[in-house]
């Protein structure tokens, strides 16, 4: 109701304005449209310059978030990067006056937006673009600096670790070397001392044994020599005795035998010569007797000789074995004694050696044990340290990569967003008027009022016309539409109100933020309500849409431009830039959080049968099915004449059903589902 009253007031205002112009401005100078006649007279194209005062400065107070801290003490997790990129505040001069060549139809008015200039002749649109580009550049540069810083930090971390590790190793290695040297020295000393002792003992023992052997070895030789000497003496004595006896006997026999023979011969001769023949037989007998006697004497002498010889021989033979036996016994005894002594010495030597060896072995074993223990401990230490170092290295590398990726993503996102925003702003600043004339919806508010010609016009709040206003003829088409002819009349009449419409248009590119949009709408409304309506249709997010129009507001030549305060640029690191929805009344009403990566739900049925189906591990485009829909819509690329939109719609419905049928589901799951629903809806919205 309130709106109706306002609209009525608005139309009354328009009628008053038109009446004013009808009265003041000569009819020839103003285009007049007669709805009943359906004809259109073009207004004069004479431009009447006017100025609009700007409030002063445009400020872009973009604040920068504090630098994120990596590897904080409290948490090893990398923080989500709160990218509220900030550009240092800059004061931009707003054109203080705007000179607008007033045209008399909407299409011309739209195109003059580009011609709005400040007092210095600078184009306001260009100023805005400059500001936007300047801001963008600063944002990008800030982002680059920030990324550089982070990359530097990311590079610095492993470098610091490596340097620290190197320093640690440089400190540790000499210590380890010292320890090794100490152990080595200790082992060598410990080994050398008993070895030396043993060597000394062995050498002493060997020396003593050798001396003993030499001494012992002398004993049998001396004894043998003595025995041999004694034997020789004995032999000499025996031989002397034997020789003497032999000589004596021989000499006695030699001396006795001739004598005996001579005697016998003499006797024989005497007897032979003296005794007759008969006697000779007797003598023969006697000779036989003498011969027998001689033979007996010889035999006796021989027997004596033999007996003596035999006796001497037996004596010698008896003495020699005894002497030999004595010598052999002495030799054997000495040899046995020596052997015993050698055996004892050997035993002593072996005992000493074994004792020394055992004595040496023990410290050697101890030393070996110490060395083994040190080695094993070192090995275990290394085995423990190496995986930890590797883990740390891997962790740092991974975190560095993650940080780098996050930063890169943020940077790319910021860059992309800013560029996108700039493009959008540019588009709205420069291209929107063109777009406006390509497609326009005129919303007719409910109203009923008397026109200047005395007729009554009924106005209804519905869309009467959708089409392009590209030139006068298309405008005529709108105006000639019977149901909207009153508004066409108003538009025309307003269009002839030079200096009214034009200032509104520079404010139309209201995409940068609500305030800007609101301001734009406000200006538009102040400038001319119909512009406000158009703005309201095209920029439904504008704050001024549908606001009451102050009846007493009229645009004067020093009408002020609004203060423009762009919001700080805030980018969600997990989100991608949001392209504006350029069609569809329900699209883009709110900022939709895009779900780029597959979310995790606690409900496994939800996860397995809904979420997993929307995101594939091999997805080339982030955002799952919603991302695919967006990509297909943006590029027109498809697979085998097939699109993802049906799937998107089906799962949209499926998720909504899940939500409705799981009112007691975990809030986190509900949130996930809601995000997915919004994301898919948003993707489909652009279709």
């Amino acid at each position: 109701m309130k709106r109706l009253i306002i609209i009525r007031k608005f139309f009354v205002f328009l009628v008053l304005v038109s009446t004013f112009f009808s009265n003041v401005v000569p009819a020839a100078a103003i285009g007049i449209f007669s709805p009943s006649a359906g004809s259109f007279t073009a207004p004069s194209k004479q431009a009447i310059p006017f100025t609009v005062s700007a409030p002063g400065r445009l400020q872009t107070p973009l604040t920068r978030s504090p630098k994120p801290t990596f590897f904080g003490a409290a948490s090893s997790e990398l923080p989500l990067l709160p990218i509220v990129t900030t550009v240092p505040a800059k004061v931009v001069e707003i054109p203080t006056t705007v000179s607008v060549p007033v045209r008399s139809n909407v299409a011309t008015v739209l195109s003059t937006a580009n011609n709005v200039t400040d007092s210095n002749g600078g184009r306001w649109v260009e100023k805005i673009i400059d500001v936007v580009f300047d801001t963008t550049e600063k944002v990008i540069k800030t982002g680059e600096r920030w990324v550089d810083k982070v990359v530097e930090v990311v590079h610095e971390v492993p470098r610091t670790i490596i340097e620290t590790g190197t320093r640690l190793i440089e400190k540790t290695v000499p210590i380890v070397r010292q320890v090794v040297e100490y152990v080595k020295t200790f082992v060598e000393e410990a080994y050398a001392y008993p070895v030396q002792v043993v060597r000394n003992v062995v050498e002493t023992v060997i020396e003593n044994v050798r001396e003993a052997y030499e001494v012992v070895k002398q004993v049998p030789r001396q004894i043998t020599e003595w025995v041999n000497q004694q034997v020789a003496v004995t032999k000499q004595i025996a031989r002397t005795v034997y020789d003497r006896v032999t000589n004596y006997v021989t000499q006695w026999i030699q001396e006795t035998v001739p004598v005996v023979r001579q005697v016998a011969r003499t006797v024989w001769d005497a007897v032979t010569s003296w005794v007759p023949k008969q006697v000779s037989s007797w003598l023969g007998k006697f000779w036989g007797y003498v011969t027998q006697l001689v033979q007996q004497i010889t035999h006796v002498a021989r027997t004596v000789y033999d007996t003596i010889t035999d006796y001497v021989t037996r004596t010698v033979a008896r003495v020699v074995p005894v002497i030999t036996s004595v010598a052999r016994t002495v030799y054997d005894t000495v040899t046995e004694w020596v052997n015993r002594a050698v055996s004892v010495v050997k035993t002593v030597y072996d005992t000493v050696r074994e004792t020394a060896y055992r004595w040496v072995q023990k410290p050697v074993q101890v030393v070996r044990q110490v060395v083994d223990t040190v080695w094993q401990t070192g090995k275990r230490l290394v085995e423990k340290i190496v995986p930890v170092v590797r883990q740390v290295t891997d962790y740092v590398t991974q975190k560095s990569e993650e940080a780098y990726r996050v930063v890169k993503t943020v940077y790319d996102t910021v860059k992309e967003t800013v560029i996108q925003k700039v493009k959008e702003v540019y588009e709205y600043v420069v291209e929107v008027p063109k777009q406006v004339v390509k497609k326009i919806k005129v919303l007719m508010p409910d109203a009923s009022f008397h026109m200047g010609d005395g007729s009554t016009v009924d106005v209804h709040s519905s869309i009467y016309y959708t089409g392009a206003i590209t030139d006068e003829s298309s405008l005529k088409a709108i105006i000639n539409t019977p149901s909207i002819s009153p508004i066409g009349y108003v538009a025309f009449t307003a269009g002839t109100a030079e200096g009214v419409l034009t200032p509104a248009w520079p404010a139309l590119p209201a995409i940068g933020g609500a305030e800007l949009a609101g301001a734009a709408a406000k200006v538009g409304l102040r400038a001319l309500p119909i512009i406000g309506i158009i703005v309201g249709v095209f920029w439904p997010e504008c704050a001024g849409c549908g606001e009451p129009v102050p009846q007493d507001v009229s645009l004067s030549q020093d009408q002020a431009l609004p203060k423009v305060q762009p919001k700080s640029v805030s980018v969600d690191a997990t989100a991608t830039p949001q392209p504006p929805n350029k069609s569809g009344d329900d699209c883009g009403q709110t900022s939709v959080k895009r779900v780029l990566n597959k979310p995790k739900a606690d409900d496994q049925i939800l996860q397995k049968n809904y979420i997993d189906k929307l995101f594939q591990p091999t997805d080339k485009i982030p955002g799952g099915t919603a991302g695919a829909i967006r990509e297909e819509l943006a590029t027109g690329n498809q697979v085998g004449n097939k699109f993802h939109s049906l799937k998107g719609k089906a799962y949209l419905k499926g998720l909504k059903n899940w939500l409705n049928n799981n009112p007691k589901a975990r809030l986190s799951d509900q949130e996930v589902v809601n995000d997915l629903i919004n994301d898919i809806e948003d993707a489909l919205c652009n279709k």
Binding site: N609, V639, N641, H644, L646, A650, N661
Partner: protein
């Protein structure tokens, strides 16, 4: 098999593969009110296919493969899309079973799958 279309795909699936009714995922989505949602049902069908393959249910696999082949070679574009994005797209190339399952597919199904993987 009746002339298979996007509209009658669920009915035909349940008629030809009645075992799926007892599949817990199907019961779950039915309880969510999605038993008539072709894409959600085909998603469950895919889970059922994989599970049956892993359990080596040859006869069942044969019937399911035939049904999928019918959908893949259908002239109904929506049904083709359903087979492609409701079933084939969800198969994880990295899964152990992928190679084995693909071997069970018919000619058209394999063709669709290869188009998806381009």
């Amino acid at each position: 098999m009746e002339n298979l279309t996007f509209q009658n795909s669920i009915g035909e699936l349940l008629r030809l593969i009645p075992e799926i009714r007892d599949f817990k995922d199907f019961q779950a989505i039915a309880s969510h009110g999605n038993a008539d949602n072709q894409y959600v049902v085909f998603g469950v069908f895919e889970n059922f296919y994989i599970e049956s393959f892993q359990q080596n249910k040859k006869d069942l696999i044969k019937r399911m493969s035939k049904f999928l082949e019918e959908a893949a070679k259908s002239k109904d574009i929506k049904l083709q899309e359903l087979a492609a994005y409701g079933f084939l797209e969800n198969l994880s190339v990295k899964a152990d079973y992928y190679g084995g399952i693909v071997k069970t597919f018919g000619e058209y199904t394999k063709k669709q799958l290869s188009e998806l993987n381009v």
